[in-house]
């Protein structure tokens, strides 16, 4: 995608580094809890707080989660990897170093396919995935002259997922983050909750003339929503283009995204190029994985989004777009399949993606908190299939189900909303209406076809909305034509 500048077309080159909290009970190298929202410094062991003499011991489950994530990203699993110390000073980094992986990460090259809105597939390369410790939290706004430090998060396992600089638009960046998030949630290796900080994104942005050489990049740190990722990248690319077109040059900088202003700004800390002095952590030996163990993990993976989407297209004959929407989240896909079992998949798909998602979005609920469970929605669809309800009536019933939590059958019985399909009854209703409309009947017969809708409306009202629309139309036309 090109951006039109004053001097011509520009292209953005973007690489994303996603930091994903590993779903585990305990931290990467200590036995303290990873639960979110605890009182400050209550989930900190002496190891996390880097007291003298403390030593790291790696959590096997975190290793497993990293390998599963790598497999989900279609990446190479490195059977031998090494933990390195990344040395720098900051208040929320108690040891003065972070245990990370530099030269030999646990996962190597991979790729994912993006679901772009226009349906075209776009492949983005993954450079690597490695395990590392998260830092604690610094609170700068609690006291006029002090920063408060909470180490609850210090030592929580992170997977850092680095993309190749293949991304070329803010849109692609958003789709990339969504896809990675979706895969990790499918695997259960990260809950992807960006508000709680389970998943954050560093965006590396540079611009160039198409075909030209790479420009200097800036890094926008800790962006915590998909929307902000897209906004930040768009703003930054345009900012850089603006600078370059004025004849200026881009300084390699670390920047932050200010959501309130919708703009990026440089971080105010001392400008120094970091020399992290990476070296292998002497408290840890190289991590050696067993090939069979990796194979077993691979065999045990759940069906991933792309495979699920393909299967939905193939077996349920859904459109790629609908299949993509349903396969985006594992819980959505599972809900859909429960509803679609033994039923018309197209009908199921429409009800889930349009009606159900509409309600969920309006009420900001996830499918896990859906007021209408999958079985209940399926029951409603059965009533359409067997003719009890028209599509229109079903919508009314659905609305009532959402409000009351009652089942479809119960509501139909309560409100007497059964569809009227008895030709006699419909004819009688039609006759009653037409008897009062001689003038309009004459107009219709004279050529005003639009009045059909008017008559349909009247009969529907008279039948309390229960007349079968198709039959009503047919019978009405017959009667009108004399």
């Amino acid at each position: 995608m090109t951006i039109k500048g004053k001097s011509g077309d520009w292209e953005m080159v973007v690489g994303l580094e996603i930091h994903a909290h590993v779903t585990s009970k305990a931290k990467l190298f200590s036995g303290a809890s990873t639960a979110f929202g605890a009182e400050p410094n209550t989930q900190v062991s002496t190891v996390d707080a880097a007291f003298p003499g403390m030593l790291p011991v790696i959590n096997r489950f975190c290793v497993e989660q990293a390998v599963k994530s790598g497999l989900g990203l279609d990446a190479q699993i490195n059977l031998t990897s090494v933990f390195d110390r990344k040395n720098y000073f900051y208040a929320d980094l108690p040891a003065g170093y972070q245990i990370s992986q530099f030269t030999r990460p646990i996962v190597g090259k991979g790729k994912i396919t993006l679901d772009m809105p226009d349906g075209s597939p776009r492949e983005i390369g993954i450079t690597r995935l490695h395990l590392e410790q998260d830092a604690g939290k610094s609170l700068h706004d609690q006291h006029p002259s002090q920063t408060y430090v909470d180490l609850n998060r210090a030592g929580v396992a992170l997977m850092e997922i680095v993309s190749e600089p293949d991304i070329r638009s803010a849109e692609e960046a958003g789709a990339y983050v969504k896809k990675v998030r979706s895969i990790l949630r499918y695997l259960g290796t990260c809950d992807g909750n960006m508000e709680e900080g389970s998943l954050r994104c560093d965006c590396n942005v540079s611009v160039r003339k198409p075909g030209g050489k790479l420009g200097t990049r800036c890094e926008i740190k800790n962006v915590n929503s998909v929307r902000f990722v897209m906004q930040a990248i768009d703003y930054e690319a345009r900012r850089q283009i603006g600078v370059l077109e004025e004849g200026g040059k881009i300084d390699q900088e670390t920047r932050l995204f200010d959501a309130a202003k919708g703009a990026t700004r440089p971080m105010r800390s001392k400008e120094e190029s970091h020399d992290y002095r990476y070296f292998p952590d002497p408290d840890l030996l190289p991590l050696v994985l067993d090939q069979d163990w990796v194979a077993k993990l691979k065999a045990g993976l759940p069906e991933l989004p792309d495979a699920k989407k393909a299967r939905f297209v193939r077996d349920y004959k859904l459109s790629p777009y609908d299949a993509g929407v349903l396969a985006g989240e594992r819980e959505d896909a599972e809900y859909f399949e429960t509803v679609a079992k033994g039923r018309d998949p197209k009908l199921a798909s429409n009800w889930v993606t349009v009606e159900l998602f509409g309600v969920l979005n309006k009420r900001a609920k996830t499918i896990a908190d859906s007021p209408v469970k999958a079985q209940a929605l399926g029951e409603l669809i059965d009533l359409i299939a067997d003719g009890t309800l028209s599509g229109r009536l079903a919508k009314d019933v659905f609305a009532a189900m959402v409000e009351t939590g009652k089942g479809a059958k119960a509501i139909v019985a309560e409100k007497g909303l059964k569809q009227v399909t008895d030709t006699g009854e419909i004819e009688r209703a039609i006759d009653a209406v037409l008897a009062k409309e001689p003038a309009n009947i004459a107009k219709y017969r004279a050529g005003n076809e639009k009045l059909l809708g008017y008559f349909v409306g009247l009969v529907m009202k008279a039948t309390g909305g229960r007349a079968n629309p198709a039959m009503l139309n047919e019978l009405l036309k017959k009667k009108l034509s004399g």
Binding site: G53, G96, D275, R277, F279
Partner: protein
């Protein structure tokens, strides 16, 4: 020195069992000895109440006939081991006032075996030194003096306080740590036994880290049998230390006194360094003769990389230390010197809190790891280290144990060798290769220098073959019959 403090650990253990005396009496004798030894500045903290409380429990168990292996044994602990509720300083200003809320695994093992804590001993700051002259709390004096010369001598380092306390009979035994020779060299200077086990034999959990790939805890004792008894209690797998060996702990005492008949003892030709004092050479030869008389044969071996060991060590150890000591930043424990900003607070705290030698090593370490230099220094050193380890592997195909001198000289006066850090570093020329290869090594007092000061001989073994090291060490001990006493002995009128 009272009759009680004259006993070795093994003798005291037996005496307690026979009820010749109580644990309380033994602790009281040592508590007094610790007070007497104050002029040496070997102890940073005395813990007499704790020792007596522990002795009381020991007596209760001994009474019931349920004595633990070290019940009633008064022990001095190098102030590098974190002891719960007892200030632990690592000999540094930056940890002044730090009271650990946890106990190191090694000391926990000792207390679980019934030992009694006399106090925390002085050391070179953060274990960096070989003379115990870099402590922020003053240097330690050796209980040895050159006869007719009043100048105080160094006890060696970094475990100088532990060595001096055992030599002066102010502790029945002590524990230290050894990263480049810090147990063996002071043991050599003070005429006692010092054992550095194989890397991974003892847990490092709770020991203030200096150089993670080199540090090991070990006993410092009157004789080889005592060292074996101590090591058995100290050692063992610790799941909290990822470098801790998951191996059964043998009954090391069984190895003491075993015949060395038929054993092959390797004599590394590269250890015959330029300018080696004749008396060290002579002592080494005496050691060879003793072992031959006891039925062993000697074979010349080659350890070609020996001359590069010190340089290798002085890249790797400072590099690891520069990272391990980054946590001393004034935020969570120890000294904080205020600053206008966070960085200023760090700089002020660390500038004031670290002594000159520690600072020197952190700067070297930071430099050798920095961008552009990592390959040339650190990576290179790790490769040479692999070659040094390979040297030993090859050598051990031809012999069962290796015999060398412990140090290139006897103890020197406090204040000597201070102009040039490198001259101080050379004290460790014979001990450093053993740490680089992760092997076990013991220093056994073998004779006196021309000036009447102790000289030690070092026995090196294969990985996890401390039994061989103790066996050969005890043969040296039997033949040497070293019974010289230091000029200062606690309790002597």
């Amino acid at each position: 020195m009272s009759a009680l403090t004259a006993l070795s650990l093994a003798q005291a253990r037996d005496g307690l069992k026979r009820k010749d005396f109580t644990a309380r009496e033994l602790s009281l004798a040592y508590i007094k000895a610790v007070e007497d030894a104050r002029p040496l500045n070997a102890f940073l903290k005395e813990t007499p109440e704790r020792a007596l409380a522990m002795a009381k429990e020991s007596d209760a168990r001994i009474e019931k006939g349920r004595a633990l292996p070290l019940d009633g044994v008064p022990i001095a602990v190098k102030d590098l081991f974190c002891t719960e509720g007892v200030e632990t300083t690592a000999g540094s200003k930056i940890l002044k006032g730090f009271v650990p809320p946890y106990e190191s695994t090694v000391t926990a093992n000792l207390w679980r075996a019934g030992a009694c804590m006399l106090g925390k001993t002085n050391l070179d700051e953060f274990a960096m030194g070989s003379a115990n002259v870099t402590s922020a709390y003053g240097h330690v004096e050796s209980p040895w003096r050159r006869p007719g010369d009043n100048r105080p001598l160094v006890p060696g380092g970094s475990s100088g306080g532990s060595a001096a306390s055992v030599a002066a009979r102010a502790a029945l035994s002590a524990i230290g740590t050894d990263t480049g020779g810090s147990i063996r060299q002071p043991a050599g200077f003070c005429g006692i036994v010092g054992l550095k086990p194989t890397y991974g034999r003892c847990s490092r959990w709770g020991i203030v880290a200096f150089a993670s790939s080199l540090d090991q805890a070990g006993p410092m004792t009157r004789d080889v049998r005592d060292a074996a008894i101590m090591l058995k209690a100290m050692a063992g797998h610790d799941p909290r230390d990822s470098t801790s060996a998951d191996l059964k702990v043998p009954d090391f005492e069984q190895a003491v006194g075993q015949s060395v008949k038929g054993l092959k003892i390797g004599i590394p030709k590269e250890y015959r360094i330029d300018g080696m004092p004749k008396e060290i050479e002579a002592l080494w030869q005496r050691g060879i003769d003793w072992l031959k008389s006891a039925g062993a044969t000697t074979v010349e071996i080659s350890l070609p990389m020996t001359r590069y060991a010190l340089a290798t060590y002085y890249i790797i150890a400072p590099a690891e230390a520069s990272s391990n000591l980054a946590r001393y930043d004034g935020v969570r424990f120890g000294l904080r010197v205020p600053g206008e900003s966070l960085d200023e607070m760090y700089e002020n705290t660390r500038g004031a809190g670290f002594g000159a030698e520690v600072r020197r090593r952190i700067l070297i370490g930071t430099y050798v790891l920095s961008a552009g230099y990592y390959d040339a220094y650190y990576l290179k050193a790790q490769k040479v280290r692999a070659l040094i380890a390979r040297d030993f592997e090859q050598a051990f195909k031809q012999c069962d144990a290796i015999l060398t001198p412990t140090a290139p000289s006897a103890a020197f006066a406090i204040g000597e060798k201070m102009d040039d850090p490198i001259s101080m570093y050379l004290n460790d020329v014979f001990t450093v290769p053993v740490n680089l290869a992760g092997l076990p090594g013991i220093s056994v007092p073998a004779g006196l220098s021309g000036e009447g000061l102790p000289l030690g001989l070092q026995v090196i073994g294969r990985a996890f073959d401390e039994e061989m090291v103790l066996r050969v060490g005890s043969a040296i001990e039997s033949a040497a019959k070293f019974d010289a006493k230091p000029q200062f002995v606690a309790g002597k009128a």
